[in-house]
């Protein structure tokens, strides 16, 4: 019986640790995005903030997972905080759909097409380039270490 309570307590503490780790990352990430959305407010109402946040996040995430993680020997907790917490909250999909709907409703067809194109194709391309960049950096480090 006592062993069971102990087990439960350990699990709760562990879960709370995970929560704190993600919470801190998400707090910072979401505020970066919020700041960008305020910073990039243009007179024509094009959602530059969401575009910048999403594309930069899509680019950095593969680089973090495939390069920085090994390069700086980051612990799984740091990775959880940075990838799931910080970058996961920094980038957003729901605001993208909201912006697209707003542009659709106001009949801003050119802006809508540009926004969809930038996010859909741009996000994918940035992720691909992020992967390539990570691999090329890793190779360069490997060659340097051999010399």
């Amino acid at each position: 019986m006592q062993v069971w309570f102990f087990y439960k307590e350990v699990r709760i503490i562990k879960e709370f640790k995970t929560f704190t780790i993600i919470f801190i990352g998400a707090f910072i990430g979401s505020n970066l995005r919020y700041g960008e959305s305020l910073l990039f407010t243009t007179s024509d109402n094009f959602p530059w903030g969401t575009v910048v946040a999403n594309l930069s996040g899509a680019f950095i995430l593969p680089f973090l997972i495939h390069y920085l993680q090994d390069r700086y020997k980051l612990s799984s907790k740091t990775i959880l905080s940075l990838s799931t917490g910080l970058l996961g909250s920094y980038t957003t999909f729901s605001t993208f759909t909201a912006d697209a709907y707003r542009l659709f409703e106001t009949g801003n067809w050119i802006y809508l097409a540009g926004y969809l194109f930038l996010t859909m194709i741009g996000g994918f391309l940035f992720a691909i380039v992020g992967n390539y960049w990570a691999v090329s950096r890793a190779f360069r480090d490997l060659e340097r270490s051999r010399k």
Binding site: T18, F19, I22, F23, I24, G25, A26, F27, I28, G29, S30, N31, R33, Y34, G35, N54, G57, A58, I60, L61, P62, I65, L80, S83, T84, G85, L87, G88, S89, Y90, T91, T92, F93, S94, T95, F96, T97, A98, A100, Y101, T119, M120, G123, F124, F126, A127, I128, G130, N131
Partner: protein, 114 residues
């Protein structure tokens, strides 16, 4: 100041729920990132519903920009998309791409008109 706290707290909660769902989905052995798809659709629907029903600006900032914004993710989606691409699973890649965008936007439209 209080706005940034609201966004931050909301996103912390949203990101934790996302992580919880992702860990649950790891137990289900389907070789397709269906949980991120589900999270993004659900989050878009919720944001649509909230935009239409919540009038208080601060509340919307907490629930919408915070929780929904932290819950849904664009980075992980594109990361998984590029992984499918590099694994040469082009059909899954295109399917994941179209399902996310079609049902994500559809979810928002349904949410805002409910």
């Amino acid at each position: 100041m209080i706005n940034s706290l609201l966004v931050g707290f909301g996103a912390g909660l949203g990101a934790y729920i996302r992580n919880f769902l992702m860990q649950t989905s790891n137990k289900i052995k389907i070789d397709f990132p269906f949980m991120t798809l589900l999270i993004n659709i659900l989050g878009s629907f919720a944001l649509g519903y909230l935009t239409a029903s919540v009038r208080d600006k601060r509340m919307l900032l907490f629930l919408g920009t915070g929780i929904c914004g932290g819950f849904t993710t664009f980075g992980t989606f594109n990361m998984e998309l590029s992984q499918l691409w590099f694994q040469r699973r082009f059909f899954s890649c295109i399917l994941y791409f179209s399902l996310t965008y079609i049902f994500g936007i559809l979810g928002f439209v349904i949410g805002i008109q409910m």
